[in-house]
């Protein structure tokens, strides 16, 4: 006689008064594939945990957003924000789509050049640019946005040494009605710091101001802030052009668009609380069109990172142990920790399992594998009873994690890309011991010990 299907036993206390009137969007919380590739096949090839990137999703999102913007404002150029995810394969997809590179360090600059991006297709931002890096950027014709007066002086020194007048942009910050106002980067508009910067560059024999840049914040949820930003930058462009007889050729509105991740502390699901990217694009392009006449359209650079890519990434992890805490709370230990998941600090990820599971959902906590009390991946997840070996698929995951992750206690895992034909490609292999100890040097006298 065949045995009956096993469904884990549970007992749940009934409580009243916990209903809420908003509810939540229905989410299918089971998936056995990503972009057509079976989870089992991905894990068999790449191991667990593994970050998984969906190439087709990247391209489709890029095309949708670019089409939306360029159909409203013709002179727009997207630039891929390297710090969001600078794996070669990711950057190459964006470059194939026509995006140039936006970098914020000499390392990222070198990475873009190594990948084949010409210097004049790189926007070099950030508050710290060593003189050597500035020199290379100027020599190769990169678009350089200066952050502070010391950097203006530095750029002037470099240009003078090169014996060449160089084009530069300046980064502005301003009040766009959002809190907190980002004021640490660039020159402030309201206190005329930006005006003074333009004036100083105007006086310089070696610098030529041709661009204005601003990036008003991160994970912005208010499209109107971008309308305010565009208005201020156009006003400032007019002041500079009128008073200093300069021509501003480009406006760079930065990025900061949100993804569909759920910020901790937010009540509503992201499907409700996060405006679609088209709202941000409409705010920017409508303001451009209403403030400018067609004969003065500058090139507009957009440096969107997270908003374009986050939903194209997943982390596949495996449940290794199940434990009931003294408080009665159920906990799981998975094979991926917060050292890979920098964004777990501020997001509650969407969680899916790799198989349909019968049984009552229960609030639980999901720990990573690190021997550290802080290694909490999901503080308050609602999951069906999971068996050891069940795979959890966490998302959105493609922005910032594989640039801000750290090697700590365990090796960093592989990153796979599901290609648009369904093939599974490893775009960054898992680390090994040699990757970690390679840069170390052991002094001769410390090489021997007896225990």
């Amino acid at each position: 006689m065949s045995k009956k299907e096993y469904i884990k036993p549970f007992i749940k206390k009934q409580t009243a008064g916990n209903m809420n009137k908003f509810g939540s969007f229905y989410q299918k919380n089971y998936r056995d594939e990503i972009a057509g590739a079976k989870i089992d096949a991905i894990v068999e090839k790449c191991g667990s945990p593994v970050f998984v990137i969906d190439e087709k999703a990247i391209r489709e999102k890029y095309r949708e957003v670019y089409r939306d913007f360029s159909s409203r404002y013709p002179k727009v150029q997207f630039s891929w924000s390297y710090k969001t995810n600078y794996l070669d394969a990711i950057c190459a997809v964006y470059h194939q789509e026509g995006s140039i590179a936006e970098v914020v360090s000499e390392f990222e600059y070198q990475k873009a050049r190594r990948l084949g991006v010409p210097g004049n297709k790189i926007i070099f931002n950030g508050p710290f640019k060593p003189e050597e890096a500035l020199k290379v950027a100027f020599e190769e014709g990169a678009i350089v946005n200066l952050d502070n007066f010391d950097e203006i002086f530095k750029a002037e020194r470099v240009a003078k040494e090169m014996g060449q007048i160089v084009d530069v942009g300046i980064r502005l910050n301003m009040d766009t009605g959002v809190y907190p106002q980002w004021s640490r980067f660039g020159f402030n508009y309201e206190n005329r710091n930006a005006y003074d910067a333009a004036k100083r560059i105007h006086k310089s024999e070696w610098l030529n101001l041709t661009g204005l840049h601003s990036h008003i914040g991160t994970f912005m949820l208010e499209p109107k802030a971008y309308a305010a930003q565009v208005k201020v930058m156009i006003d400032f462009m007019r002041i500079v052009e009128r008073e200093f007889d300069m021509t501003i050729e480009s406006l760079d509105f930065g990025g900061g668009f949100p993804s569909r991740n759920k910020l901790k502390g937010t009540y509503l699901p992201p499907e409700v609380s996060v405006p679609p990217l088209s709202d941000f694009i409409a705010a920017i392009s409508n303001t451009l069109l209403s403030e400018l006449s067609p004969d003065e359209y500058p090139t507009v650079y957009m440096e969107t990172g997270r908003g374009l890519i986050d939903e194209a990434g997943y982390l596949v992890t495996t449940v290794d142990a199940i434990k009931r805490l003294p408080s009665g709370l159920k906990s799981y230990i998975i094979d991926a920790g917060v050292n890979y998941l920098y964004t777990s600090t501020w997001y509650n990820y969407k969680v899916e399992v790799d198989r349909p599971i019968e049984g009552s959902y229960e609030n639980c906590i999901v720990y990573g594998p690190l021997c550290m009390n802080i290694d909490v991946v999901l503080e308050n997840a609602s999951l069906p009873p999971l068996s050891r070996g069940t795979r959890l698929i966490l998302s959105p995951m493609a922005a910032y994690n594989v640039t801000q992750w750290m090697q700590f206690i365990r090796y960093r895992p592989a990153v796979a890309m599901i290609m648009d034909n369904g093939d599974i490609e490893i775009i960054r292999r898992a680390e090994n011991l040699e990757d970690v100890v390679g840069p170390e040097r052991l002094p001769e006298k410390l090489k021997k010990f007896e225990l």
């Binding site: 096993y6 549970f10 009934q14 009552s360």
Partner: protein, 80 residues
């Protein structure tokens, strides 16, 4: 383990549990009812595991962990 409190519970066939002393109510599933009934018969854990393993298609280790977890929950709810 004192299973006296389990004997006072009203348990329906489809898993609704009512504790007439505290007024608390609970829900469980088919296997949960089986485990409670076996505990009420003062069966040892090993015997419960054997009985369940005969009925259900399940790995022994998984069943062992799940039984401990279920009994832990009964303790948390002050039912044993």
């Amino acid at each position: 383990m004192n299973v006296e409190k389990l004997t006072r519970l009203a348990i329906s066939d489809n898993g609704f549990i009512f504790d007439p002393i505290t007024g608390h109510s609970f829900t469980t599933n088919e296997i949960g009812i089986k485990i409670i009934n076996l505990l009420k018969e003062n069966k040892e854990n090993e015997d419960i595991l054997d009985e369940l393993a005969e009925i259900y298609s399940v790995n022994e280790n998984e069943l062992d962990v799940d039984l401990m977890d279920f009994i832990h929950n009964l303790k948390n709810f002050s039912l044993v």
